[in-house]
Symmetry: C2
Subunit: 353 residues, 2 copies
């Protein structure tokens, strides 16, 4: 730390992203990427855009906003593209929380929420999940705080139903409820359909998972025009050209190939079911995940050991040290072939015991 | 504004980026882009990267950091890549200013500094330029505030010498001095050479101007390891994957083609001298700009009128409404051909008077 660093950040603990090994020798099941490449149009449009990089991107992202709004079925001025969904989440903490209006989220969820709260000097409350890792909706009624819910939740993969989300929205009519839908496309209904009914709803989505674009950094906020307008004020005061030209182009390309995304999601759901069954047969306990990952523990080997032995065998999964979940590993759903390798590797690891 | 918007931002006036017309019918001399496309390697590497967008980028940007550090002649852990130089500037306001340590910068400079200060709730002082639009170094001694100086300054293009910058660094040994070198490559010496001598110096650069990559969004901070470490704390608490895979690749490509950048800069300097002479002959008054733009006024026609008449004739330049500079226009240096068209168009406009 330099002697110049602002005292307000001296206790800030940054987020730790999953390992990104520079070589490609691992089967990488640790950061919930898609095993499928971006669509042909996404690649083509991005490549074409790279030839014109001397010119600034369109700061209004109008063509991309239009394509995305059409895909999710809202008006163009009800969406805002950001540099990954981390950026829209940070904008939400900036715009809709402050010292007097804190944040609230589950104790087990996306680890970045607490970092954003600390970064922005926002008091926050972490509500324990129930013992079965589900969210008790009653814990989120009348909070007088801004609510952040990942749906399905991470790293458990367990979803809330839309009627449960409605209960939270109704129970906090004067506060923003952020529904972080990073993993919505793997078997759940989006809360976007609730936006016309609830002016306190902000939905966030990402192109990093179902849309095969983690490397491009593209996220979205979807909400009423007024909320998007506030988020635009933050964007234009932070980084007006927040999305580069190639990502804008790739985003338009992948949206034009929407069937490709839908097919990939179906494939991942099938592979998830295969993997869940196989891991259960090996004695793993799993949460009922509806995301592109599983969350699994074994009663014979610790979570940390499974992580380490898999890594030794060339497979990366994500382990979290947090006490309540330290016996689990989060395992991304890759291709069928990758998951077969995972299953046979786990089988050998267990046989050696 | 929604009823949920945080009161702290209710008076925030966002930055207004230059017009980015969606059609390409204009000769675009309004946002200081390079008239030259990115280098072949930049395009090739970016296109290749677009095929692997399903995987996250390297959050440490290690290959890009290494290439950039080598180019500017510092150690790899003395640089940090950001999503355009706006992001590194915002990080600097976040990390090195607070309620007790305000910011100071000239009254006429990059318009985003005051927005960043407001966004981060930082008190700021704007020091008037001298009548000839130069900075008086004596105004920046013993400020007890974080100092932001664009060198050369925008929109005047007038530089400080390295010895003047040293005076400011020596005069504020306990405060960070940020030297924003967005336009350094068009005829001035970088303050990077001063970093080993001054632990309070943070230099920022951008690939948007000399390196033909405005569309890719790539900026850098260059400073002591300790300062870069602080900025990394902010980055990993804000957006760990702040640079996408294609921009990382394009950045490495353009750095490998460094001669291409140097040749383009030489060409732009020559074209600037041609244009400055031609405009002087037409009766314009110019600041002694050493950037990739000129700053010019005419005693017969108002700045606003010149802007409007040029726009009617298919040429976009940048006009600022600020009282002290409202008679001027900032004119980006394009290709020789584009500038010949500008000169002949201005000639016709003046003849019609």
């Amino acid at each position: 730390m330099s002697r110049f660093f602002s005292s307000k950040y001296k206790n800030l603990t940054p987020y730790t992203p999953g390992e990104q090994p520079k070589d490609t020798q691992y089967i990488k099941l640790n950061t919930n990427e898609s095993p499928y490449p971006p669509s042909e149009k996404a690649i083509k449009y991005a490549s074409e855009a790279s030839e014109k990089l001397n010119l600034y991107p369109d700061p209004t992202c109008s063509a991309l906003h239009e394509a995305f709004a059409k895909t999710v079925g809202v008006e163009t001025d009800m969406v805002l593209a950001t540099n990954g969904s981390d950026e829209i989440l940070n904008f939400a903490f900036m715009a809709f929380c402050n010292e007097n209006c804190g944040a609230v989220f589950p104790d087990i969820t996306y680890g970045f929420y607490s970092v954003f709260a600390q970064l922005n000097n926002i008091p926050y409350e972490e509500i324990p999940l129930k013992d079965d890792f589900t969210i008790d909706v009653n814990d989120y009624i009348g909070k007088n705080k801004t609510i952040f819910i990942a749906n399905p939740n991470a790293p458990t993969g367990i979803p809330l139903s839309l009627s449960q989300i409605e209960e939270i929205l109704k129970g906090n009519p004067d506060n923003i409820v952020v529904i972080d839908e990073a993993y919505i496309d793997f078997g759940n209904d989006s809360a976007v359909s609730l936006i016309p009914k609830y002016d306190n709803l902000l939905v966030t989505q990402t192109f990093s998972k179902s849309r095969s674009m983690a490397g491009a950094r593209l996220g979205f906020g979807i909400a009423s025009k007024e909320i998007i307008n506030d988020l635009n004020t933050v964007k234009y005061s932070t980084n007006p050209y927040n999305i580069n030209k190639m990502t804008i182009a790739a985003g338009i390309g992948i949206l034009e190939d929407n069937d490709y995304t839908l097919n990939n999601c179906e494939e991942i759901i099938k592979t998830r079911e295969y993997t869940a069954d196989a891991l259960s047969s090996l004695g793993f306990t799993l949460t009922p995940s509806t995301a592109n990952f599983l969350f699994a523990k074994h009663n014979k080997i610790s979570g940390k050991e499974i992580y380490s032995e898999l890594k030794e065998n060339g497979i990366l999964v994500r382990h979290f040290d947090k006490e309540k979940i330290k016996e689990y590993n989060r395992i991304t759903i890759g291709t069928k072939e990758q998951m077969e390798t995972l299953v046979s590797t786990l089988k050998s690891i267990l046989e050696d015991r």
